[in-house]
Symmetry: C2
Subunit: 343 residues, 2 copies
């Protein structure tokens, strides 16, 4: 009955949504949502966008206001920006525009699992390069002829970064996925001007606390961005998300204040988790990666029994660990209290 | 600089957004927006979804509430419904899941121009079957071995319909694009159960007056829909559009009342446009298709000078015409007044 669908799609494992309990009784530290609300300006902007005839009319297909605001904040050309319905959609668009049937998609491992999915949907080959033990990449391990490389920087689940300047001459078209970059020290925007084969992608889900809104964008050379607009659904961003995203990126003060609180919590939770016996990688993101010699899956399960959700990850040829989002201070206090009883 | 992009994408013409003036000084009859506001429940639902921590948390990836509500309204299984960021995204997902590299995509002409674009992005071949003069399809003209056929029913720009029961045994996988179906008499939902190769797509942009929100869905066999979820971005519909779409589809009374007003306006504008000398096709959608022997493009241009936007379309091997949305009664009065001065 489904044999008219492409075999690469039929072969993919069925869709398993992440744990998103709607009942509010869980402490959610599993999907790297921001524990603090978005800018008050976001709520105002949504209110305004809900008035008059805005809902019944099509949105601006090019997102002029957002691009102008983001360009000013980031110091880039508005024509260097592609708007997307979440940075996942941006990654989808880039894959469709760049990767031919049977082409090779490359990404490190352990990293974001979506890269493999995008390759599979596109009918592409997928190759993983293992990170070195200190979460770097061995240049000798990088194949030179690939259609597209995805580097999550900072990386998930490790929270580690690759030095940006080492990526400037990457041998193939490169997406630097900077969903978590606002929690790090450096970013890749300065590479765009010199190398048109590099694209930087950003999300408003994490640092701007807008996971519910679905907004992301890419920054690249205007010539390349113009090509990517061809594969975009005409009206991919709705009036409310455009209004919310524009208001959010214009309120840098709000974003920086929340980032400051998150970085402070990250520092103390890293120290406390280490005191509890976990090996915790130094993080440049809004989560930390915890491992230990003894089995760690029971810790995930025991936390879930106690209504705390963290993310258990297990990677082939690497092993497992817990990726724990940096929540609010009361949430992290609760996590540490329960962990002290478990470990 | 762009040669790392796929050649099928580079060969596509550059993106030209439709005319969406934001200044409010135009009478917009060019993009088939609903002239009446969405249900009051939509505004309430957006207000509620903007409270608490809804914006900072990820939305429900499967759209449970919407699917339950839509299934009840349409009399189908919730598992038969795929949610999308506008029905354009639904058409994109189906194309990616069904059409292989080099596969053949089929659609009638004149029809919705997006079908060709989707085929081109996918690296597929595209074939058009011309409508007969009375806007039907000659079965002998339909090739049997195609990866996917798109039929817009009602069709744009003509507003005409194909008899639904004649589509039941279409020789290839078939998308019946029912973006305008709420303005017609019949629909294709009854075909789904008997033929798993048929998918029906719907939009909330037109009959539910939510073009700004971006929400559409597909109805198909649950086995097929389950496969299509694999190619969906996990969180493709945001919390506000899910809330708005659910509220809108639950308020059938509001939709039907607006539909009634639009059908009444459509009837009298058809008669009046005919009196003004246009050949107007009987429409089953929220627009009418007008042609005439003398050149019609000057009418479009003269209307634009007078701040009325209609859609001028010109199709190879067919010719041109004006697609005019059914606006509110004052908008149509204004159109008819100005046309009387022009023609």
């Amino acid at each position: 009955m489904t044999d008219f669908l492409r075999s690469n799609v039929r072969k993919m494992p069925g869709y398993t949504p992440g744990e998103q309990p709607r009942d509010g009784e869980y402490t959610k530290l599993n999907t790297n949502e921001n524990p603090y609300p978005p800018s008050p300006r976001v709520f105002e902007a949504i209110g305004q966008a809900t008035t008059g005839d805005r809902l019944r009319k099509y949105p601006d297909p090019l997102g002029h206001h957002f691009r102008t605001a983001a360009a000013r904040v980031l110091g880039v050309d508005p024509d260097a920006i592609l708007i997307g319905n979440g940075s996942d959609e941006i990654l989808t668009m880039i894959t469709r525009a760049v990767v031919p049937d049977g082409g090779l998609v490359l990404a490190p491992t352990p990293s974001y699992l979506l890269y493999r999915t995008l390759a599979e949907i596109q009918g592409a080959a997928y190759q993983e390069i293992p990170f070195t033990p200190d979460w770097q990449l061995d240049p000798a391990a990088v194949p030179r002829h690939t259609a597209l490389t995805f580097l999550s920087n900072p990386n998930s689940p490790s929270g580690t970064t690759l030095p940006v300047d080492q990526l400037a001459n990457w041998p193939s078209p490169l997406v630097i996925d900077e969903a978590y970059v606002d929690f790090a020290v450096d970013n890749g925007l300065r590479l765009i001007g010199a190398n048109a084969k590099i694209l930087v992608t950003r999300s408003l889900s994490k640092s701007y606390a807008l996971a519910g809104i679905r907004f992301g964008f890419a920054v690249g050379s205007p010539q390349v961005i113009r090509q990517l607009y061809k594969v975009k659904d005409s009206y991919n961003c709705d009036v409310l998300s455009l209004a919310a995203a524009t208001a959010a990126i214009e309120d840098q003060e709000h974003m920086r204040a929340n980032r400051g609180r998150i970085l402070a919590t990250r520092a103390r939770m890293t120290a406390d988790l280490r005191r509890l016996g976990f090996a915790v990688t130094d993080s440049h993101a809004n989560f930390v990666w915890c491992r230990r010699e003894r089995p760690i899956k029971p810790v995930y399960e025991e936390l879930k029994n106690r209504k705390i959700l963290v993310r258990y990850m297990n990677y082939p040829n690497y092993g497992d660990g817990l990726r724990i989002s940096v929540g609010s201070d009361p949430e992290i206090d609760r996590l540490l209290d329960e962990l002290a009883k478990i470990v």
